[in-house]
Amino acid sequence: MLGKLTWQAIPFDQPIPLVAGGVVFLILVAVVIWIIVKGHLPYLWNEWITSVDHKRIGVMYMLLSLVMLLRGFIDGLMMRSQQALAFRAPGYLPPEHYDQIFSAHGTIMIFFGAMPMVIGLMNFVVPLQLGVRDVAFPTLNSTSFWLTATGALLVNVSLVVGEFARTGWLPYPPLSEATYTPGVGVDYYVWALQISGVGTLLTGVNFVTTILKMRAPGMSYLRMPVFCWTALASNLLIVAAFPVLTATLAMLALDRYLGFHFFTDTAGGNQMMFVNLIWAWGHPEVYILVLPAFGVFSEVIPTFSGKPLFGYRSMVAATLFICIVSFTVWLHHFFTMGAGGDVNGVFGIATSIIAVGTGVKIYNWMFTMYGGRIRYTTPMLWSVGFIVTFVIGGMTGVMLAVPPADFELHNSLFLVAHFHNVIIGGVVFGGFAGLTYWFPKAFGFRLHEGWGKASFWFTFIGFYATFVPLYVAGLLGMTRRLQEYDVASWQPWVLAAGVGVLVTLVGAVCQVTQLVVSILHRDELRDETGDPWDGRSLEWSTASPPPAFNYAVLPNVQGEEPYWEIKRRAIETQQLAAEPDYKPIELPRNSPTGFITAFFATITGFALIWQIWWMVVVGLVAAYLVFVVFAWRDVTEYEIPASEVAAIDRARRTARQQWLDTHARVGEQV
């Protein structure tokens, strides 16, 4: 009746996951009860859960990302503290638990921390920067989000029901085959990623279509903000790479469930094929994450340097160069496979060449800052911190790209330090820069600068304090994923990294405090103008938070920095452009389709993990019925009357007029 699911699945004998899971469960129950008692449920359902507005979906992605970043960070704390205690000692985490933690840490951080972060930023920003009202397929967008949330839910359910994979964040066979890992851990991994992977793929389809086919009048390709370019490159990579992940995990699932022999060590299976296929997805994935972060810096640095981006076209070219070359380097993840000197040489050179594209970008950002009037706000601090950190990470990457060096450093803590160096220094710094930069646009008030700067400095210093020792430990020969070790020369470095992660923890606490403090003091941090940073791209021309339709009239784009030009003209002429002729606006209606689809996807995924076959059938039939019901809808849009559009836009114009008056007075003094 319930497949493999029995009471044994609950780890009553392991206090750590049980207590952690119990606490999280109680918090969840408390939150749900609070929502229901306070009567927030209808608001939540109508305004958020069923919303197909790209801005709301972007905010929900960011929220998911922040929660999962914290969750993954706790795993990181546990790993560092275990290793700090584990010199010739068992520490406090038994091997089978420690293995689950490092697997869950990587999986959660990449798929449910970093991915929702960049997708959330793209969701919120791209349609605004393109000057349009929404993405190409708004309901699909909502479905993508909820499928991602389903994956995150399944991974976290594994904490208390059953177990998670002990195979690392990429489940290499033959260890991940049913013969050697018979439990449900790998199955949780496979189905959580398959379901969220479908969501991500649909996001890719959605954004490629949006960026290529839905831009404001006059916005030719070479007038798009660089963030949109990087979003385009990232989503092209999603469309090209995620199907490979889907197919690879499907093959692993067939091996595990139906006795196929894709990757087994018997009957002709080929384990290295898994490694090749997973990295054919995995390396582009790195650039899926980091390209949008590059885009964030390309928005933040010009704004706070008071200058246009240096080398716009070379930036676009470098982005597309990275986009293409990222598909030709996957083999550097396993130079030790034994493909021979020629093959390794080709991939080593290709890997080093990618650094050229990134180098172009680094110089462009520095030349943007050169001679500018730099304002060191929190987003700018994250950006400058990124430039320094990413250059170091990039250089250790080029070191690892040399095959003979890689033979020494493969699977060592040097590698671990390298990829944390680029992912934290690139993606996470970019995510936080984007978060603080666009937060006022989303909510109409800024985040607290003091706490933001504190968060930056603690995270920045904590990062170096954690990972520089790990570089050294790696050079001393310490391999990754050790639950216990007995080499005395490693111990000081491991202890230093343990201290470093505590500094980072202070940074994380500051980050949370910043959010709480900012929400409590939102009236003091309020921005009425919609343009709190003296921005340059279109999103700053509308109100904060933007109305549901983003722009009362689609902007007519005349250059690379359309809003900056218009702002200059308004200041020069001391008046706003003439009031446009307002027309009614049609917007997509909210739809519970995404949420309901994800609900049944959760049921199907859970049933597949525990092999509850009747429930699988129920889930799939229900999914088909959702499809039919959704297809049957007759009314898909609602209309905002011209009078309402006019009222909303006139309020914005009034605020802008006031801003213009103050700005004029400031100008006279100068």
């Binding site: 490629v208 279509t209 290529l212 490979v244 022999h261 007519n556 359309p562 452009a577 009031e579």
Partner: protein, 229 residues
């Protein structure tokens, strides 16, 4: 501060920027804003939908290419079991191909009928497409069953694993296509040729022809090369 009013009078380019109502491309006169460069503002809904669906199909083709790559690696890994030369039945494959190619043709005919706004012929075209699709699936299942009956199940060798996976994946796509086809017939029947139904018919046509394209690759890579091995 309204952006849209910055430069009045320059904005005439959104008039049919995608040249959808121009016959054969040429003769567009002096102001030529290149198609697809999107300077004319957001594309019309049916362009966006079809374009997005194309992107989805491309991603699907990449997924198949992964299975093809796996099959290319594992095609000789028979582990002492039967090879394609022994197992494949060219006659059966020929009938499968005939059914699927014909179904693509009838699917195209139904699209012609849709263009002429003929409800009856659209439905008949879709129905024949569906029947041929079912025939294809029956033939495929028969082939699978005969394989298993002769001991050539996917558990037998890596070659058979990848064979069943790549052919079965295509079969699953056909099954999903048939479910979609059924709902499309019902939608056309109940709701008529509304713009959204027309867009979905267009997407369905794209999907069904893509299945054919994948089958052509599958026929070549799995069956033809497999028989010649």
């Amino acid at each position: 501060m309204s952006v849209s009013q910055a430069l009045p009078g320059t904005h005439r380019r959104d008039m049919d920027a995608y040249r959808l109502r121009h016959g054969h491309g040429g003769g567009h006169g002096g102001h030529d804003f290149p198609t697809g460069h999107g300077e004319g503002g957001p594309a019309p809904r049916h362009v966006v939908v079809a374009y997005g669906f194309w992107i989805f199909i491309l991603s699907d083709i990449i997924m198949f290419s992964t299975f093809f790559a796996a099959h290319a690696v594992l095609a000789t890994a028979t582990a002492g079991g039967p090879s394609g030369t022994v197992m494949f039945n060219p006659a059966n494959v020929a009938w499968e191909t005939t059914a699927l190619l014909l179904s693509s043709f009838t699917c195209g005919l139904s699209a012609v009928a849709t263009r002429a706004r003929s409800l009856v012929w659209t439905e008949i075209g879709l129905l024949i497409t569906g029947v041929l699709g079912v025939a294809f699936l029956v033939l495929e299942c028969r082939e699978f069953a005969s394989f298993v009956a002769r001991g050539a199940s996917p558990e037998a060798s890596a070659f058979l694993s990848s064979f069943f996976a790549v052919v079965g994946c295509h079969g699953l796509h056909v099954t999903a296509g048939l479910l979609w086809l059924g709902t499309m017939m019902a939608q056309v029947f109940v709701k008529g040729f509304r713009p959204d139904i027309l867009r979905r018919l267009l997407c369905f046509n794209l999907f069904w022809h893509a299945l054919d394209i994948i089958w052509v690759a599958l026929f070549t890579i799995v069956y033809l090369i497999g028989l010649g091995r």
